[in-house]
């Protein structure tokens, strides 16, 4: 009997499992106070972060950082005597989750400012909602498309373009003329191939091959096999962890044997956890946080970085990552602007457009035209060795 039974069950099982895959729900964020916003009430800051899902290695330290800083600020009396109420929502590393969370923060929590998201894709999904509602938003993700031409959106992670310039300068100096790119298939990797082609042309560098991977991918043999067969002199792997770390591991295990660059998307411990010994020799541009102990004594960022590292270590018993640094900068830029301009959205936006801040990710100087505020000087070049980063070039 029962051939028909299997026929009947199988589709149900598939649908159920697919539904489950799509809607694993968990909200690790704080809960919101329904109190309607009043000028005298608490200042409300919302955050939308990739706490679970593929962006978890970014979102978790960012959540830790914001929670810690909010606690510190309120313990010191808040802003002008008003408490700061921080609401963090987990977008589960999805675009629709980010959009929903943004609408909720604006409509029911009535926040004064939004921080997030951790990655480019979700940040791009939030941008039109924040713009339509005219609420200032500070993303902690990288792709320049998040802020380009925007009136209301700012960001604190170093632009992908300056990261690429840094990589291409080094490649040119070492005499590489052909590059292969293995990139994240989501928003973070969008446009990277075009930038390499454009910026490479001035340096005599051509892009000979582009491969893509999903951030949830676990096997990178197909991509690395294709790269191994190409005539590239060096390879750029552009992604976040754990996928970028796994890609690096496959890269070494499949003996591609070409020099390899990574993006600033790997500046955390998760890279070493995923790649293991295969991380040795990787060169990547990143902020100064992970090499703070090797900076010149008079470096202007050194003090703020060391204070942040000490605070974070005390609160969570581990070292912060570069992503924690992006959240640190977003928080302070937001708080400084609210202190100066209050919570009126337009005034706050105008204040953010002239924000200057010496932070963890770099020395920010926002302008109405540049909502990212960082240039190539925010990046150093570091090389991985035995689970730590060595400063190559400041």
């Amino acid at each position: 009997m029962k051939k028909s039974r299997l026929r009947f069950i199988a589709p149900i099982a598939v649908v159920t499992a697919l539904a489950l895959a799509g809607c694993s729900t968990s909200n690790l964020g704080g809960t919101a106070d329904a109190d309607p916003a009043a000028e005298a009430g608490p200042i409300k800051i919302g955050a939308v972060l990739d706490v679970t899902g593929v962006g978890a290695s970014l979102g978790v330290p960012e959540q830790n950082t914001l929670t810690m800083l909010a606690k510190q600020l309120n313990a010191d009396g808040g802003i002008d005597g008003r408490d700061v109420e921080l609401t963090i929502i987990d977008n589960q590393s999805t675009e629709d989750g980010a959009a929903k969370a943004t609408s909720k923060l604006i409509e029911s929590d009535q926040v004064d400012l939004i921080i997030g998201a951790s990655r480019t894709g979700p940040s791009l999904a939030m941008r039109p909602i924040a713009e339509a509602a005219k609420i200032p938003m500070i993303s902690v993700a990288a792709n320049v498309a998040i802020v380009e031409g925007s009136e209301w959106v700012f960001k604190t992670a170093q632009n992908d373009v300056v990261v690429l310039e840094r990589i291409l300068d080094d490649a040119e100096a070492k005499g590489y003329t052909k590059l292969a790119l293995v990139r994240d298939a989501t928003g973070f990797g969008e446009g990277v191939a075009e930038y390499i082609t454009e910026l490479g042309a001035e340096r005599g560098i051509t892009l000979v091959m582009t491969e893509a991977f999903e951030p949830s991918a676990t096997d990178f043999t197909p991509q690395m096999t294709n790269v191994r067969g190409s005539d590239a002199d060096a390879v750029i792997i552009w992604g976040i962890n754990p996928s970028a770390g796994l890609a690096q591991k496959a890269y070494v295990q499949l003996s591609v044997n070409k020099p390899v660059y990574h993006s600033h998307g790997i500046s955390n411990q998760a890279f070493f956890d995923a790649a293991g010994e295969a991380a040795n020799g990787v060169v990547a541009p990143m902020g100064r946080l992970l090499v703070a102990d090797q900076l010149a004594a008079d470096n202007s960022q050194r003090e703020v970085i060391e204070q942040f590292k000490a605070d974070y270590n005390e609160a969570y018993g581990e070292q912060p990552s570069g992503f924690a640094g992006h959240a640190f900068d977003a928080w302070h830029i937001a708080v400084n602007a609210i202190e100066a301009a209050g919570t009126d959205a337009a005034a706050l936006r105008d204040e953010l457009e002239q924000a200057e801040f010496t932070g963890v990710s770099g020395v920010f100087a926002m302008t109405p035209e540049n909502h990212s505020g960082l240039d190539a000087s925010a990046l150093i070049l570091a090389e991985a060795e035995d689970g730590r980063w060595n400063l190559l070039k400041d």
Binding site: M1, K3, T16, A17, A212, Q223, T225, Q253, G276
Partner: protein, 290 residues
């Protein structure tokens, strides 16, 4: 060209071995209890995360891995005793709902216990091998070896041993099996123990290169499900062949077409099989249908 093809084949076979072990677990439970175990993929993640945690806490690799596999086997038995065995009238639909509940519960426990970030067991001992430009990673030997030993062992167990024959009897002729004194309770416990054990093995051998994640079991279980469907949900051999094929097809699609279509390939195969050939790769139409 040929090198690339072989390289992709190696990746597909090792990935397919993991799917095959999960399919074996699904079929073991289905043949005895008519339960489609949605939590099969969670068994793998639980073993992977558990052993990663034990090893990080200082336990030797081999011991940590064994403890994790045995724990997951016990979890599977507990699931059978506490939930499945207590249902008076078990239909496939209720079984899906129940095991879906277990799957969600296990995910929540893993998320709370080990956090949302992916973790991996250290690489197992061994060296990478380079044969004619095709590199085979040491862990891939472990993955394929796990299938050969564990998967092969279970096939032999079913076909040669008394207990295995008793399990098949329960599946084929439940009433007659009871008459000759085979306990359906023992058979059910044994089936879930096998499911937990192979799920655990799959989880620990895959963890060093694919990592383990609290939410990763769903997709993995689904791939095992596709392989089980290829085996008509009755044949271990057909399901193992199907799983290896599925792994290779995924690797070829990712390598030659686009890596974004990789997961789509599995579901396309699933739909095609269910529509065109619901008995899967099983050749003999006389094969036992349970």
């Amino acid at each position: 060209m040929l090198t690339d093809f072989l390289q992709l084949t190696v990746a597909g076979l090792s990935q397919g071995s993991v799917y095959a072990l999960l399919a074996v677990g699904l079929i073991a439970v289905y043949t005895v209890r008519h339960v489609i175990n949605i939590a099969q993929g969670e068994f793998a993640m639980l073993a992977g995360l558990g052993s990663a945690w034990l090893v990080a806490a200082g336990m030797p690799l081999l011991l940590g891995v064994l403890v994790a596999i045995l724990t997951v086997t016990l979890v599977a038995i507990a699931m059978e005793r506490l939930i499945i065995a207590r249902v008076k009238k078990l239909t496939p639909l209720t079984s899906i709902i129940l095991t879906l509940g277990v799957s969600t519960l296990l995910q929540a426990i893993m998320l709370l216990a080990w956090g949302p970030e992916a973790k991996g067991v250290p690489l197992f001992p061994g060296t990478n091998v380079l044969i004619g430009g095709v590199s085979i990673r040491s862990q891939e030997f472990w993955m394929i070896g796990a299938l050969v030993i564990v998967g092969g062992g279970i096939v032999l167990f079913y076909e040669k041993s008394r207990w295995g024959k008793a399990l098949r009897a329960c599946a084929e002729q439940p009433v007659a099996a009871r008459i000759v004194g085979i306990s359906p309770v023992t058979a059910s416990i044994l089936a879930f123990a096998i499911a937990g054990f192979v799920g655990g093995v799959a989880g620990v051998v895959a963890s060093p290169i694919y990592l383990s994640l609290w939410s990763g079991g769903v997709l993995l279980g689904l791939k095992g499900f596709v392989a089980a469907v290829l085996g008509g949900f009755v044949s271990f051999r057909a399901a193992i062949v199907g799983a290896l094929l599925l792994g290779m097809i995924e690797a070829y699609v990712a390598g030659y077409v686009s890596s974004g279509l990789r997961d789509g390939a599995a579901f396309l195969i699933l739909i095609l099989v269910l529509v065109v050939r619901p008995q899967g790769l099983v050749l003999k139409p006389t094969a036992v249908r349970v």
